[in-house]
């Protein structure tokens, strides 16, 4: 009995001494951390996707606390709502950034773009792209090996078995940009989500001359400039035989969609148009 008592008293005394020492040491070497970092981190979505440009939510919170001006910063996952909350915690101003979405700019389906060769090497787009121009005649388009799917941490991209092209799940995509940097062909772009998810974009990245591009893919942009001339807002520019629609200027009038001879310009989430023979195929796309 005595032994037990002595043990308890000795250990208790040792513990108490250690606690006192630790207390003073902790006081002496205290690391000051801005409590606001924790508060901001609390607000952030904890996705750690890196879409903000910082390595994880904690780093982004630290950066926001440190920065004088956070108006240019944006958490693509949380969007305007989260940024407003974070700004409220910090008492800083934030601009509401328009929500974005990953857009796949290739329409080289098996039907539009016939396969000429078969690739059986390492199954990643990056390696295939370092070896050759891909299974089809278009060396700009999608390789269909799914590096973007692999890169997405939100499960928001999947490969469409039928077309061989990646499809972005609009509900799940947070526009973190992981797929954009994973794609060796720079096919994916972050574009404005648009009101009610309505968007108009050129679904092609082929920079070959019109005739060459058209030969290998029936849905290629041939750089004919019809859309550029048609656009009343000057939102479309054709550079290197490829049209590009600036989403900050585009007013979604869809005039370009109608004039495009190869249906390379896509409109999504618009209500179906009144049937006109010229736009049958675009209707099909909007219904998707």
């Amino acid at each position: 009995m005595n032994v037990v008592l002595i043990t308890i008293i000795t250990l208790g005394a040792l513990g108490a001494v250690a606690a006192i020492i630790l207390y003073f040491v902790a006081q002496k070497f205290k690391v000051f951390e801005d409590p606001r970092i924790d508060q901001v981190e609390e607000v952030l979505p904890a996705a750690n996707c890196g879409g903000c440009g910082f390595p994880g939510c904690r780093a982004f919170a630290e950066a926001m606390v440190k920065a004088d001006d956070i108006s240019t910063m944006n958490c693509p996952v949380g969007g305007a709502e989260v940024m407003a909350k974070a700004a409220a915690v910090l008492g800083k101003e934030v601009e509401a950034a328009a929500p974005k979405l990953a857009v796949v700019k290739c329409n080289g389906t098996c039907e539009n773009r016939p396969r000429l060769t078969t690739y059986d090497g390492a199954s990643t787009c990056a390696i295939a792209a370092s070896l050759y121009g891909g299974e089809t005649g278009c060396s700009y388009g999608c390789y269909g090996l799914g590096d973007c799917v692999e890169a997405c941490t939100f499960d928001a991209i999947y490969m469409d078995e039928e077309t061989g092209l990646p499809v972005v799940d609009e509900e799940k995509c947070v526009a973190c940009g992981a797929c954009v940097s994973a794609c060796p062909k720079n096919i994916i772009e972050l574009r404005k989500q648009g009101p009610k998810g309505r968007r108009v974009f050129v679904s092609c990245v082929n920079k070959d001359k019109g005739a060459v591009a058209r030969k290998v893919c029936s849905a290629a942009c041939i750089g004919c400039k019809k859309c550029e001339k048609e656009c009343p807002f000057g939102a479309i520019t054709v550079v290197n035989n490829l049209a590009y629609i600036d989403d900050s200027k585009c007013k979604l009038c869809r005039k370009c969609v109608v004039v495009c001879p190869t249906n390379a310009i896509h409109e999504v989430n618009f209500p179906p148009r009144k049937p006109k023979p010229a736009i049958e195929s675009t209707e099909k796309k909007s219904a998707e």
Partner: protein, 443 residues
């Protein structure tokens, strides 16, 4: 016991089907497309434009930097256009397209077959002539030859090593060249020795070419300082570093060039081109290409002009066999599958290998079983299984520490892997990425 390199290596089935086939001169094609990027380094700058008339051997694109090479017209005719053409890289790249009319050679080229043994050119003139003739390493690496001949200040070269190894299975172009142009290669060697200022040259030849070893040994008796070194058959002995190790037992430090150990390596094909350039004033616009494969009816060695479509060569070897799965530019180990048989022959095309469908398929990739066969096979002493994973996970800093840049892309690791893992595919990709990072850092 024959000499060979000290580390790793494999011995794939040799399959030298076209061995002993006389070099056949292919007729001049109706049209050639001459890519302006046929060598390592900066692409050349075209000097001609649409509608220009050119002669055989006329300079049509000039070297665009220190590491770059001149390109000469392989045919006489009219320049059709300068356009993007699919080449062996698998991408469309700029090429000069010439429509052939007759076969009119530039007057300065000596077309007589007579052997010219007297070397009048000074060392400086030799380097200049080799550069002007647009000669690149014909073994396949296509490194401009004149750059190798310009020994950097502070370094000393004491031995020239000629690569007559041809360790790639199937290929026989160098072998045949040694048999038919042995005398010219000897003179070419003397020229290179003079250019480098060395009095010793070793021609390394693998023991599966006994006739070539015998032939050149006999010839070498009349030339001072040239030794023939028979080597054990082992892939990748044709690699510069492996060949130096095999011939003179010197190891090149990581990241350094052969000149570091006082050696310069040139291919025998390159040596023949040097002979022609210096003694006959003939620039490099044609080369010997092996067309082979188990299903090819007439495996052959062709002397063909640069810019000839590969399809013409296959046609001349009996046509594309039924059930062909792949056509490879180069040999089976280091060659690259072509995405079209219309791609042109370039200075670096050593062979065309037609693979039947059944043999062309890659086996299913399985998990790494840590057998370390790839480590034993790697002639550079690397850990391919690890480099593959690092490359896959984009861990470039660790890949660099793992000496990924030392990889010579010989493919011994992929060849030996029992799980059919695409080791080299990943490593080559990682090497590209790490190379980019290093270049960015050095800027």
């Amino acid at each position: 016991m024959l000499k060979t390199f000290s580390l790793g290596g494999v011995h794939p089935a040799e399959n030298k089907l076209s061995a002993g086939q006389k070099i056949e001169v292919l007729p001049v094609p109706e049209q050639v497309s001459v890519p302006i990027a046929q060598h390592i380094g900066a692409p050349s700058e075209p000097l001609v434009k649409k509608g220009d008339t050119v002669k055989v051997g006329q300079l049509i694109a000039k070297s665009a930097g220190f590491v770059s090479a001149n390109i000469h017209s392989p045919v006489s005719g009219i320049v059709q256009k300068i356009d993007d053409v699919l080449d062996a890289s698998g991408y469309k790249r700029k090429a000069i397209i010439i429509k052939t009319e007759g076969d009119e050679w530039d007057e300065s080229i000596d077309r007589s077959p007579a052997l010219n043994k007297t070397i009048v050119a000074s060392p400086e003139e030799i380097v200049k002539k080799v550069g002007a003739a647009g000669i690149v390493g014909l073994g396949g690496a296509t490194f401009p030859a004149h750059v190798k001949l310009s020994v950097p200040p502070g370094k000393k070269c004491d031995v020239l090593i000629l690569n007559g190894v041809e360790c790639e299975p199937y290929l026989t172009s160098d072998h045949q060249l040694m048999m038919e142009k042995g005398e010219e290669i000897m003179v070419g060697t003397q020229i290179l020795m003079k250019g480098l200022g060395v009095d010793r040259a070793i021609i390394g030849i693998e023991n599966n070419k006994k006739d070539a070893i015998e032939h050149l040994t006999n010839l070498a008796k009349d030339y001072s300082g040239i030794e023939i070194q028979p080597l054990k058959v082992q892939y990748p002995q044709g690699g510069e570093k492996q060949l130096i190790d095999a011939c003179i037992g010197r190891q090149i430090p990581s990241g350094k060039l052969p000149i570091e150990v006082g050696a310069v390596v040139q291919n025998v094909g390159t040596t023949f081109a040097v002979y022609e350039a210096v003694q006959k004033n003939k620039p490099l616009f044609e080369r010997v290409v092996t067309v082979t494969g188990k299903s090819v009816s007439k495996p052959s060695n062709f002397l063909t002009r640069v810019g000839t479509p590969i399809s013409t060569l296959i046609e001349a070897a009996g046509g594309l066999p039924e059930g062909t799965g792949k056509v490879i530019g180069g040999g089976p180990m280091m060659g690259k599958a072509l995405s079209s048989i219309e791609v042109p022959v370039t200075k670096g095309s050593s062979g065309v290998l037609v693979v039947p469908e059944a043999e062309s398929k890659r086996s299913e990739v399985q998990n790494c079983i840590r057998c370390s066969k790839c480590v034993s096979a790697c002639p550079m002493g690397l850990s391919p299984y690890l480099l593959m994973t690092l490359s896959n996970k984009a861990m470039w800093d660790r890949a660099e520490e793992g000496k990924i840049m030392d990889c010579i892309e010989c493919g011994s690791c992929s060849f030996t892997c029992p799980s059919s893992r695409p080791l080299l595919d990943y490593i080559r990709f990682g090497k590209g990425k790490v190379g980019q990072i290093i270049r960015g850092r050095n800027k």
